[in-house]
Homo-oligomer: 270 residues x 2
Protein backbone atom coordinates (compact mmCIF):
# COMPACT_ATOMS: atom_id res chain seq x y z
CA UNK A 1 0.00 0.00 0.00
CA UNK A 2 1.27 3.37 -1.05
CA UNK A 3 1.15 6.88 0.41
CA UNK A 4 1.11 9.72 -2.11
CA UNK A 5 2.47 13.01 -0.75
CA UNK A 6 2.34 16.32 -2.59
CA UNK A 7 4.18 19.44 -1.43
CA UNK A 8 3.40 22.77 -3.08
CA UNK A 9 5.88 25.27 -4.47
CA UNK A 10 5.93 27.60 -1.48
CA UNK A 11 6.95 24.76 0.83
CA UNK A 12 9.64 23.60 -1.60
CA UNK A 13 11.01 27.15 -1.94
CA UNK A 14 11.84 27.29 1.79
CA UNK A 15 15.03 25.29 2.45
CA UNK A 16 14.04 24.63 6.07
CA UNK A 17 10.54 23.40 5.23
CA UNK A 18 11.82 21.34 2.33
CA UNK A 19 14.36 19.68 4.54
CA UNK A 20 11.73 18.88 7.21
CA UNK A 21 9.45 17.27 4.64
CA UNK A 22 12.25 15.24 3.06
CA UNK A 23 13.63 14.02 6.41
CA UNK A 24 10.16 12.87 7.37
CA UNK A 25 9.64 11.08 4.07
CA UNK A 26 13.05 9.39 4.35
CA UNK A 27 12.18 8.19 7.86
CA UNK A 28 8.81 6.82 6.70
CA UNK A 29 10.53 5.07 3.79
CA UNK A 30 13.10 3.56 6.15
CA UNK A 31 10.28 2.17 8.27
CA UNK A 32 8.99 0.36 5.16
CA UNK A 33 6.40 2.73 3.71
CA UNK A 34 6.18 3.06 -0.07
CA UNK A 35 5.83 6.72 -1.03
CA UNK A 36 5.21 8.67 -4.21
CA UNK A 37 6.32 12.26 -3.63
CA UNK A 38 5.00 14.88 -6.07
CA UNK A 39 6.76 18.22 -5.71
CA UNK A 40 5.69 21.68 -6.83
CA UNK A 41 8.07 24.56 -7.48
CA UNK A 42 6.24 27.41 -9.19
CA UNK A 43 8.00 30.14 -7.19
CA UNK A 44 11.41 28.75 -8.11
CA UNK A 45 10.39 28.51 -11.77
CA UNK A 46 9.48 32.22 -11.61
CA UNK A 47 12.87 33.06 -10.06
CA UNK A 48 14.83 31.17 -12.74
CA UNK A 49 12.64 32.53 -15.56
CA UNK A 50 13.67 36.01 -14.51
CA UNK A 51 17.35 34.96 -14.28
CA UNK A 52 17.07 33.87 -17.90
CA UNK A 53 15.41 37.13 -18.92
CA UNK A 54 11.96 35.64 -19.39
CA UNK A 55 9.32 37.62 -17.53
CA UNK A 56 6.71 35.13 -16.24
CA UNK A 57 3.27 35.66 -17.73
CA UNK A 58 0.08 35.10 -15.84
CA UNK A 59 -3.47 34.96 -17.16
CA UNK A 60 -6.77 35.57 -15.40
CA UNK A 61 -9.74 33.27 -16.03
CA UNK A 62 -13.32 34.63 -16.40
CA UNK A 63 -13.94 33.53 -12.80
CA UNK A 64 -10.98 35.63 -11.66
CA UNK A 65 -8.36 32.89 -11.13
CA UNK A 66 -4.77 33.91 -11.92
CA UNK A 67 -2.52 31.21 -13.33
CA UNK A 68 0.88 30.85 -14.96
CA UNK A 69 0.97 30.96 -18.76
CA UNK A 70 3.33 28.40 -20.29
CA UNK A 71 4.62 29.35 -23.73
CA UNK A 72 7.56 27.47 -25.32
CA UNK A 73 10.21 29.53 -23.48
CA UNK A 74 8.41 29.22 -20.16
CA UNK A 75 8.04 25.47 -20.68
CA UNK A 76 11.79 25.16 -21.16
CA UNK A 77 12.51 26.87 -17.84
CA UNK A 78 9.74 24.86 -16.16
CA UNK A 79 11.32 21.58 -17.34
CA UNK A 80 14.83 22.68 -16.34
CA UNK A 81 13.77 23.72 -12.85
CA UNK A 82 11.25 20.96 -12.11
CA UNK A 83 12.80 17.88 -13.73
CA UNK A 84 16.41 19.11 -13.44
CA UNK A 85 17.16 21.24 -10.41
CA UNK A 86 14.37 20.31 -8.01
CA UNK A 87 13.85 16.64 -8.85
CA UNK A 88 17.58 15.88 -8.69
CA UNK A 89 18.30 17.96 -5.57
CA UNK A 90 15.46 16.09 -3.83
CA UNK A 91 16.62 12.67 -5.06
CA UNK A 92 20.26 13.31 -4.15
CA UNK A 93 19.22 14.40 -0.65
CA UNK A 94 17.02 11.32 -0.16
CA UNK A 95 19.77 9.01 -1.42
CA UNK A 96 22.39 10.37 0.97
CA UNK A 97 23.24 7.51 3.29
CA UNK A 98 20.86 4.97 1.75
CA UNK A 99 19.39 4.16 -1.64
CA UNK A 100 15.82 5.32 -1.19
CA UNK A 101 14.66 7.21 -4.26
CA UNK A 102 14.34 7.45 -7.99
CA UNK A 103 13.15 10.63 -9.68
CA UNK A 104 11.01 10.84 -12.79
CA UNK A 105 8.50 13.00 -14.66
CA UNK A 106 5.24 11.99 -16.26
CA UNK A 107 7.08 11.68 -19.59
CA UNK A 108 9.25 8.84 -18.27
CA UNK A 109 7.81 5.43 -19.15
CA UNK A 110 4.84 7.52 -20.41
CA UNK A 111 3.72 7.64 -16.79
CA UNK A 112 1.34 10.57 -17.15
CA UNK A 113 -0.34 11.11 -20.51
CA UNK A 114 -2.09 14.43 -20.86
CA UNK A 115 -4.21 16.35 -23.30
CA UNK A 116 -3.02 19.80 -24.18
CA UNK A 117 -5.43 22.62 -23.59
CA UNK A 118 -5.70 23.94 -27.17
CA UNK A 119 -7.46 27.15 -26.27
CA UNK A 120 -8.20 28.91 -23.01
CA UNK A 121 -10.57 31.74 -22.22
CA UNK A 122 -9.03 34.64 -20.33
CA UNK A 123 -10.00 38.12 -19.28
CA UNK A 124 -7.90 40.62 -21.22
CA UNK A 125 -6.62 43.94 -19.92
CA UNK A 126 -9.94 45.56 -20.69
CA UNK A 127 -11.76 42.93 -18.64
CA UNK A 128 -13.24 41.32 -21.75
CA UNK A 129 -13.26 37.60 -22.47
CA UNK A 130 -10.70 36.53 -25.04
CA UNK A 131 -9.72 33.13 -26.46
CA UNK A 132 -5.96 32.51 -26.62
CA UNK A 133 -3.82 29.42 -27.44
CA UNK A 134 -3.53 27.20 -24.36
CA UNK A 135 0.25 26.99 -24.33
CA UNK A 136 2.03 23.96 -22.93
CA UNK A 137 -0.39 23.05 -20.18
CA UNK A 138 -2.16 19.74 -20.01
CA UNK A 139 -4.87 17.79 -18.29
CA UNK A 140 -3.91 14.29 -17.16
CA UNK A 141 -5.78 11.53 -18.99
CA UNK A 142 -4.00 8.35 -17.91
CA UNK A 143 -1.43 6.98 -15.48
CA UNK A 144 0.97 4.09 -16.21
CA UNK A 145 0.34 2.21 -12.97
CA UNK A 146 2.63 -0.70 -13.88
CA UNK A 147 5.63 1.57 -14.24
CA UNK A 148 5.05 3.14 -10.81
CA UNK A 149 4.53 -0.29 -9.26
CA UNK A 150 7.82 -1.53 -10.68
CA UNK A 151 9.73 1.56 -9.55
CA UNK A 152 8.30 1.12 -6.05
CA UNK A 153 9.60 -2.46 -6.05
CA UNK A 154 13.11 -1.06 -6.49
CA UNK A 155 13.09 1.87 -4.10
CA UNK A 156 10.75 3.12 -1.38
CA UNK A 157 10.32 6.63 -2.77
CA UNK A 158 9.46 7.74 -6.30
CA UNK A 159 9.87 11.50 -6.75
CA UNK A 160 7.58 12.84 -9.50
CA UNK A 161 7.88 16.24 -11.20
CA UNK A 162 4.55 17.62 -12.48
CA UNK A 163 5.21 17.19 -16.20
CA UNK A 164 3.25 14.97 -18.56
CA UNK A 165 3.59 13.70 -22.11
CA UNK A 166 1.21 15.16 -24.71
CA UNK A 167 -0.22 13.35 -27.70
CA UNK A 168 2.34 14.94 -30.05
CA UNK A 169 5.27 13.79 -27.91
CA UNK A 170 5.54 17.21 -26.29
CA UNK A 171 6.19 17.91 -22.62
CA UNK A 172 3.31 19.57 -20.78
CA UNK A 173 3.11 21.44 -17.49
CA UNK A 174 0.47 19.77 -15.32
CA UNK A 175 -1.00 20.73 -11.98
CA UNK A 176 0.80 19.08 -9.06
CA UNK A 177 -2.38 18.40 -7.06
CA UNK A 178 -3.95 16.79 -10.12
CA UNK A 179 -0.82 14.67 -10.71
CA UNK A 180 -0.85 13.50 -7.08
CA UNK A 181 -4.58 12.71 -7.08
CA UNK A 182 -4.34 10.84 -10.41
CA UNK A 183 -1.40 8.78 -9.18
CA UNK A 184 -3.10 8.04 -5.84
CA UNK A 185 -6.19 6.86 -7.71
CA UNK A 186 -4.25 4.68 -10.17
CA UNK A 187 -2.31 3.05 -7.31
CA UNK A 188 -5.39 2.83 -5.05
CA UNK A 189 -3.20 4.51 -2.42
CA UNK A 190 -4.06 4.14 1.24
CA UNK A 191 -3.60 7.87 1.81
CA UNK A 192 -3.15 11.03 -0.26
CA UNK A 193 -1.42 13.79 1.72
CA UNK A 194 -1.61 17.29 0.24
CA UNK A 195 0.85 19.50 2.14
CA UNK A 196 0.17 23.23 1.97
CA UNK A 197 1.29 26.46 3.64
CA UNK A 198 -1.91 26.71 5.70
CA UNK A 199 -2.98 24.50 8.64
CA UNK A 200 -5.72 22.71 6.67
CA UNK A 201 -9.25 23.53 5.56
CA UNK A 202 -10.30 26.60 7.50
CA UNK A 203 -13.93 27.66 7.97
CA UNK A 204 -14.41 30.83 9.96
CA UNK A 205 -11.40 30.77 12.29
CA UNK A 206 -11.38 27.01 12.80
CA UNK A 207 -9.34 24.27 11.11
CA UNK A 208 -11.73 21.43 10.30
CA UNK A 209 -10.51 18.11 11.65
CA UNK A 210 -12.59 16.00 9.31
CA UNK A 211 -14.79 16.40 6.28
CA UNK A 212 -17.18 13.52 5.56
CA UNK A 213 -17.14 12.76 1.85
CA UNK A 214 -20.82 13.64 1.62
CA UNK A 215 -20.12 17.22 2.74
CA UNK A 216 -16.99 17.82 0.65
CA UNK A 217 -18.74 19.70 -2.12
CA UNK A 218 -20.68 21.98 0.22
CA UNK A 219 -17.61 22.85 2.26
CA UNK A 220 -15.42 23.30 -0.82
CA UNK A 221 -17.76 26.07 -2.02
CA UNK A 222 -17.11 28.02 1.17
CA UNK A 223 -13.31 28.07 0.69
CA UNK A 224 -11.01 30.00 -1.67
CA UNK A 225 -10.11 28.82 -5.15
CA UNK A 226 -6.93 26.81 -4.40
CA UNK A 227 -8.45 25.03 -1.40
CA UNK A 228 -11.70 24.46 -3.24
CA UNK A 229 -9.86 22.57 -5.97
CA UNK A 230 -7.86 20.54 -3.46
CA UNK A 231 -10.99 19.42 -1.61
CA UNK A 232 -12.80 18.45 -4.80
CA UNK A 233 -9.78 16.52 -6.14
CA UNK A 234 -9.33 14.74 -2.83
CA UNK A 235 -13.03 13.86 -2.70
CA UNK A 236 -12.94 12.50 -6.25
CA UNK A 237 -9.86 10.39 -5.43
CA UNK A 238 -11.66 8.88 -2.44
CA UNK A 239 -14.78 8.18 -4.51
CA UNK A 240 -12.46 6.32 -6.87
CA UNK A 241 -10.90 4.10 -4.24
CA UNK A 242 -8.20 6.05 -2.38
CA UNK A 243 -8.39 5.26 1.35
CA UNK A 244 -8.27 8.80 2.74
CA UNK A 245 -6.99 12.26 1.89
CA UNK A 246 -5.44 14.77 4.26
CA UNK A 247 -4.92 18.45 3.53
CA UNK A 248 -2.22 19.36 6.04
CA UNK A 249 0.42 21.97 6.90
CA UNK A 250 3.89 21.26 5.47
CA UNK A 251 5.82 23.70 7.62
CA UNK A 252 5.89 21.76 10.90
CA UNK A 253 8.24 19.10 12.26
CA UNK A 254 7.52 15.67 10.68
CA UNK A 255 4.65 17.09 8.64
CA UNK A 256 3.67 13.83 6.91
CA UNK A 257 3.85 11.65 10.03
CA UNK A 258 1.82 14.14 12.04
CA UNK A 259 -0.82 14.39 9.33
CA UNK A 260 -1.04 10.58 9.07
CA UNK A 261 -1.50 10.38 12.86
CA UNK A 262 -4.36 12.86 12.73
CA UNK A 263 -2.45 15.49 14.72
CA UNK A 264 -2.60 18.10 11.98
CA UNK A 265 -4.67 19.01 8.95
CA UNK A 266 -8.09 18.14 7.66
CA UNK A 267 -8.97 14.56 6.87
CA UNK A 268 -11.45 13.65 4.15
CA UNK A 269 -12.62 10.08 4.31
CA UNK A 270 -15.32 7.81 2.93
CA UNK B 1 22.11 -8.41 -23.69
CA UNK B 2 22.42 -4.67 -23.71
CA UNK B 3 23.89 -2.08 -26.07
CA UNK B 4 25.27 1.06 -24.42
CA UNK B 5 25.33 4.12 -26.69
CA UNK B 6 26.93 7.43 -25.81
CA UNK B 7 26.50 10.57 -27.90
CA UNK B 8 28.69 13.60 -27.19
CA UNK B 9 27.58 17.17 -26.68
CA UNK B 10 28.32 18.41 -30.19
CA UNK B 11 26.07 15.74 -31.69
CA UNK B 12 23.31 16.51 -29.18
CA UNK B 13 23.56 20.25 -29.93
CA UNK B 14 22.64 19.70 -33.60
CA UNK B 15 18.87 19.13 -33.88
CA UNK B 16 19.28 17.16 -37.11
CA UNK B 17 21.99 14.86 -35.77
CA UNK B 18 20.15 14.39 -32.50
CA UNK B 19 17.00 13.41 -34.34
CA UNK B 20 18.91 10.88 -36.51
CA UNK B 21 20.46 9.25 -33.46
CA UNK B 22 17.17 9.08 -31.56
CA UNK B 23 15.21 7.68 -34.54
CA UNK B 24 17.82 4.99 -34.93
CA UNK B 25 17.75 4.12 -31.23
CA UNK B 26 13.94 4.00 -31.25
CA UNK B 27 14.01 1.64 -34.24
CA UNK B 28 16.55 -0.64 -32.56
CA UNK B 29 14.45 -0.64 -29.39
CA UNK B 30 11.34 -1.51 -31.40
CA UNK B 31 13.19 -4.49 -32.89
CA UNK B 32 13.78 -5.74 -29.33
CA UNK B 33 17.22 -4.38 -28.43
CA UNK B 34 17.79 -3.16 -24.87
CA UNK B 35 19.68 0.13 -24.93
CA UNK B 36 21.25 2.44 -22.36
CA UNK B 37 21.71 5.85 -23.95
CA UNK B 38 24.14 8.23 -22.25
CA UNK B 39 23.92 11.76 -23.63
CA UNK B 40 26.40 14.61 -23.43
CA UNK B 41 25.49 18.27 -23.72
CA UNK B 42 28.46 20.48 -22.76
CA UNK B 43 27.86 23.02 -25.53
CA UNK B 44 24.26 23.50 -24.48
CA UNK B 45 25.30 23.85 -20.83
CA UNK B 46 27.66 26.64 -21.93
CA UNK B 47 24.85 28.35 -23.86
CA UNK B 48 22.46 28.27 -20.89
CA UNK B 49 25.17 29.29 -18.43
CA UNK B 50 25.61 32.48 -20.44
CA UNK B 51 21.82 33.02 -20.61
CA UNK B 52 21.86 32.95 -16.82
CA UNK B 53 24.76 35.37 -16.63
CA UNK B 54 27.32 32.77 -15.55
CA UNK B 55 30.40 32.88 -17.73
CA UNK B 56 31.65 29.28 -18.11
CA UNK B 57 35.08 28.70 -16.60
CA UNK B 58 37.63 26.36 -18.09
CA UNK B 59 40.86 25.13 -16.55
CA UNK B 60 44.02 23.81 -18.21
CA UNK B 61 45.78 20.74 -16.79
CA UNK B 62 49.60 20.53 -16.59
CA UNK B 63 49.48 18.34 -19.71
CA UNK B 64 47.60 21.08 -21.56
CA UNK B 65 44.06 19.64 -21.46
CA UNK B 66 41.28 22.23 -21.24
CA UNK B 67 38.20 21.23 -19.28
CA UNK B 68 35.08 22.77 -17.82
CA UNK B 69 35.28 23.96 -14.21
CA UNK B 70 32.17 23.14 -12.19
CA UNK B 71 31.61 25.44 -9.23
CA UNK B 72 28.26 25.47 -7.37
CA UNK B 73 26.61 27.85 -9.86
CA UNK B 74 27.91 25.93 -12.85
CA UNK B 75 26.71 22.66 -11.31
CA UNK B 76 23.21 24.07 -10.99
CA UNK B 77 23.07 24.96 -14.69
CA UNK B 78 24.65 21.61 -15.58
CA UNK B 79 21.92 19.75 -13.66
CA UNK B 80 19.13 21.88 -15.13
CA UNK B 81 20.30 21.40 -18.70
CA UNK B 82 21.41 17.76 -18.50
CA UNK B 83 18.81 16.17 -16.20
CA UNK B 84 16.04 18.68 -17.03
CA UNK B 85 16.05 20.01 -20.57
CA UNK B 86 18.05 17.37 -22.46
CA UNK B 87 17.04 14.21 -20.62
CA UNK B 88 13.34 15.06 -20.80
CA UNK B 89 13.36 16.32 -24.39
CA UNK B 90 15.04 13.04 -25.37
CA UNK B 91 12.64 10.89 -23.33
CA UNK B 92 9.56 12.73 -24.61
CA UNK B 93 10.75 12.27 -28.21
CA UNK B 94 11.42 8.56 -27.69
CA UNK B 95 8.03 8.05 -26.04
CA UNK B 96 6.08 9.66 -28.85
CA UNK B 97 3.96 6.91 -30.35
CA UNK B 98 5.17 4.14 -28.04
CA UNK B 99 6.36 3.74 -24.47
CA UNK B 100 10.06 3.13 -25.00
CA UNK B 101 12.08 5.11 -22.50
CA UNK B 102 12.70 6.22 -18.95
CA UNK B 103 15.23 8.93 -18.12
CA UNK B 104 17.44 9.06 -15.06
CA UNK B 105 20.73 10.42 -13.70
CA UNK B 106 23.36 8.59 -11.70
CA UNK B 107 21.77 10.01 -8.53
CA UNK B 108 18.53 8.10 -9.15
CA UNK B 109 18.48 4.78 -7.28
CA UNK B 110 22.11 5.69 -6.47
CA UNK B 111 22.94 4.35 -9.90
CA UNK B 112 26.35 6.00 -10.22
CA UNK B 113 28.30 6.67 -7.04
CA UNK B 114 31.30 8.91 -7.51
CA UNK B 115 34.17 10.36 -5.55
CA UNK B 116 34.57 14.07 -5.72
CA UNK B 117 37.92 15.37 -6.90
CA UNK B 118 38.90 17.37 -3.81
CA UNK B 119 41.78 19.19 -5.43
CA UNK B 120 42.98 19.52 -8.98
CA UNK B 121 46.28 20.78 -10.38
CA UNK B 122 45.97 23.40 -13.07
CA UNK B 123 48.23 25.74 -14.98
CA UNK B 124 47.49 29.30 -13.93
CA UNK B 125 47.61 32.37 -16.14
CA UNK B 126 51.36 32.61 -15.66
CA UNK B 127 51.79 29.01 -16.81
CA UNK B 128 52.64 27.84 -13.28
CA UNK B 129 51.15 24.80 -11.58
CA UNK B 130 48.56 25.63 -8.99
CA UNK B 131 46.33 23.50 -6.74
CA UNK B 132 42.67 24.56 -6.63
CA UNK B 133 39.50 22.99 -5.16
CA UNK B 134 38.16 20.34 -7.53
CA UNK B 135 34.63 21.73 -7.75
CA UNK B 136 31.67 19.46 -8.36
CA UNK B 137 33.33 16.91 -10.60
CA UNK B 138 33.53 13.24 -9.77
CA UNK B 139 35.08 9.97 -10.74
CA UNK B 140 32.66 7.02 -10.91
CA UNK B 141 33.33 4.35 -8.29
CA UNK B 142 30.32 2.06 -8.56
CA UNK B 143 27.27 1.28 -10.67
CA UNK B 144 23.93 -0.04 -9.34
CA UNK B 145 23.53 -2.83 -11.90
CA UNK B 146 20.30 -4.14 -10.38
CA UNK B 147 18.53 -0.81 -10.83
CA UNK B 148 19.51 -0.62 -14.50
CA UNK B 149 18.44 -4.24 -15.04
CA UNK B 150 15.02 -3.55 -13.52
CA UNK B 151 14.52 -0.38 -15.56
CA UNK B 152 15.41 -2.31 -18.72
CA UNK B 153 12.75 -4.88 -17.83
CA UNK B 154 10.18 -2.09 -18.00
CA UNK B 155 11.27 -0.20 -21.09
CA UNK B 156 13.74 -0.85 -23.91
CA UNK B 157 15.68 2.40 -23.49
CA UNK B 158 17.13 3.96 -20.36
CA UNK B 159 18.37 7.51 -20.97
CA UNK B 160 21.16 8.47 -18.56
CA UNK B 161 22.42 12.01 -17.88
CA UNK B 162 26.09 12.16 -16.82
CA UNK B 163 25.56 13.08 -13.17
CA UNK B 164 26.54 10.99 -10.18
CA UNK B 165 25.92 10.98 -6.45
CA UNK B 166 28.85 11.97 -4.21
CA UNK B 167 29.56 10.61 -0.75
CA UNK B 168 28.05 13.72 0.91
CA UNK B 169 24.78 13.36 -1.00
CA UNK B 170 25.89 15.98 -3.52
CA UNK B 171 25.35 15.88 -7.27
CA UNK B 172 28.54 15.61 -9.31
CA UNK B 173 29.32 16.25 -12.97
CA UNK B 174 30.87 13.11 -14.44
CA UNK B 175 32.41 12.40 -17.81
CA UNK B 176 29.90 10.93 -20.28
CA UNK B 177 32.37 8.48 -21.82
CA UNK B 178 33.30 7.25 -18.36
CA UNK B 179 29.63 6.88 -17.40
CA UNK B 180 28.93 4.86 -20.55
CA UNK B 181 32.00 2.62 -20.12
CA UNK B 182 31.20 2.02 -16.43
CA UNK B 183 27.59 1.12 -17.21
CA UNK B 184 28.62 -1.15 -20.11
CA UNK B 185 31.06 -2.95 -17.81
CA UNK B 186 28.53 -3.35 -14.98
CA UNK B 187 25.92 -4.74 -17.38
CA UNK B 188 28.47 -6.81 -19.32
CA UNK B 189 27.03 -5.17 -22.44
CA UNK B 190 27.44 -6.85 -25.79
CA UNK B 191 28.52 -3.57 -27.39
CA UNK B 192 29.57 -0.08 -26.29
CA UNK B 193 29.04 2.49 -29.05
CA UNK B 194 30.74 5.86 -28.57
CA UNK B 195 29.32 8.27 -31.14
CA UNK B 196 31.51 11.28 -31.96
CA UNK B 197 31.74 14.08 -34.50
CA UNK B 198 34.63 12.41 -36.35
CA UNK B 199 34.48 9.25 -38.51
CA UNK B 200 36.33 7.10 -35.97
CA UNK B 201 39.95 6.63 -34.90
CA UNK B 202 42.05 8.34 -37.54
CA UNK B 203 45.75 7.62 -38.06
CA UNK B 204 47.40 9.63 -40.81
CA UNK B 205 44.49 10.20 -43.19
CA UNK B 206 42.88 6.79 -42.66
CA UNK B 207 40.00 5.73 -40.44
CA UNK B 208 41.02 2.49 -38.72
CA UNK B 209 38.46 -0.26 -39.21
CA UNK B 210 39.61 -2.30 -36.25
CA UNK B 211 41.98 -2.04 -33.32
CA UNK B 212 42.97 -5.34 -31.71
CA UNK B 213 42.85 -4.98 -27.93
CA UNK B 214 46.57 -5.69 -27.74
CA UNK B 215 47.35 -2.59 -29.81
CA UNK B 216 44.90 -0.21 -28.17
CA UNK B 217 47.42 1.45 -25.90
CA UNK B 218 50.01 1.99 -28.65
CA UNK B 219 47.44 3.46 -31.03
CA UNK B 220 45.85 5.60 -28.33
CA UNK B 221 49.18 7.37 -27.80
CA UNK B 222 49.21 8.46 -31.43
CA UNK B 223 45.82 10.21 -31.20
CA UNK B 224 44.68 13.49 -29.63
CA UNK B 225 43.56 13.76 -25.99
CA UNK B 226 39.81 13.15 -26.37
CA UNK B 227 40.27 10.16 -28.67
CA UNK B 228 43.10 8.80 -26.55
CA UNK B 229 40.80 8.67 -23.51
CA UNK B 230 37.98 7.08 -25.51
CA UNK B 231 40.24 4.29 -26.79
CA UNK B 232 41.69 3.55 -23.34
CA UNK B 233 38.23 3.51 -21.72
CA UNK B 234 36.88 1.24 -24.45
CA UNK B 235 39.86 -1.08 -24.09
CA UNK B 236 39.43 -1.27 -20.33
CA UNK B 237 35.71 -2.03 -20.72
CA UNK B 238 36.55 -4.91 -23.08
CA UNK B 239 39.19 -6.25 -20.71
CA UNK B 240 36.46 -6.25 -18.08
CA UNK B 241 33.97 -8.26 -20.11
CA UNK B 242 32.21 -5.93 -22.57
CA UNK B 243 31.81 -7.70 -25.94
CA UNK B 244 33.10 -4.97 -28.23
CA UNK B 245 33.43 -1.20 -28.45
CA UNK B 246 32.92 0.97 -31.50
CA UNK B 247 34.03 4.58 -31.84
CA UNK B 248 31.81 5.80 -34.66
CA UNK B 249 30.46 8.94 -36.35
CA UNK B 250 27.11 10.17 -35.00
CA UNK B 251 26.23 12.51 -37.85
CA UNK B 252 25.17 9.94 -40.47
CA UNK B 253 21.84 8.24 -41.20
CA UNK B 254 21.18 5.40 -38.71
CA UNK B 255 24.50 5.99 -36.97
CA UNK B 256 24.12 3.24 -34.36
CA UNK B 257 22.85 0.57 -36.75
CA UNK B 258 25.61 1.34 -39.24
CA UNK B 259 28.28 1.20 -36.56
CA UNK B 260 26.91 -2.13 -35.26
CA UNK B 261 27.00 -3.54 -38.81
CA UNK B 262 30.64 -2.54 -39.18
CA UNK B 263 29.89 -0.01 -41.93
CA UNK B 264 31.28 2.95 -40.01
CA UNK B 265 33.70 3.70 -37.21
CA UNK B 266 36.54 1.87 -35.52
CA UNK B 267 35.87 -1.39 -33.73
CA UNK B 268 37.91 -2.47 -30.73
CA UNK B 269 37.46 -6.10 -29.81
CA UNK B 270 39.07 -8.83 -27.74
Amino acid sequence: MVIVVKAGGRLIASPETRSRILSDIARLADSGEKIVFVHGGGDIVTEYSRKMGIEPRFVVSPSGIRSRYTGPEELEVYVMVMAGKLNKEIVAGLNHGANRAIGVTGADCSMLLAERKKRIIILNEKGRKQVIPGGYTGKIKSVNKECLDKLLEQVNIVVVSPLALGTEGELLNVDGDQAAASIATALQAKTLVLLTDVPGVILGDKVLEKIPLSQAETIAKKTGYGMNRKILMAAKAIENGVGAAIIAPGNTENPVTRALRGETGTRIEP
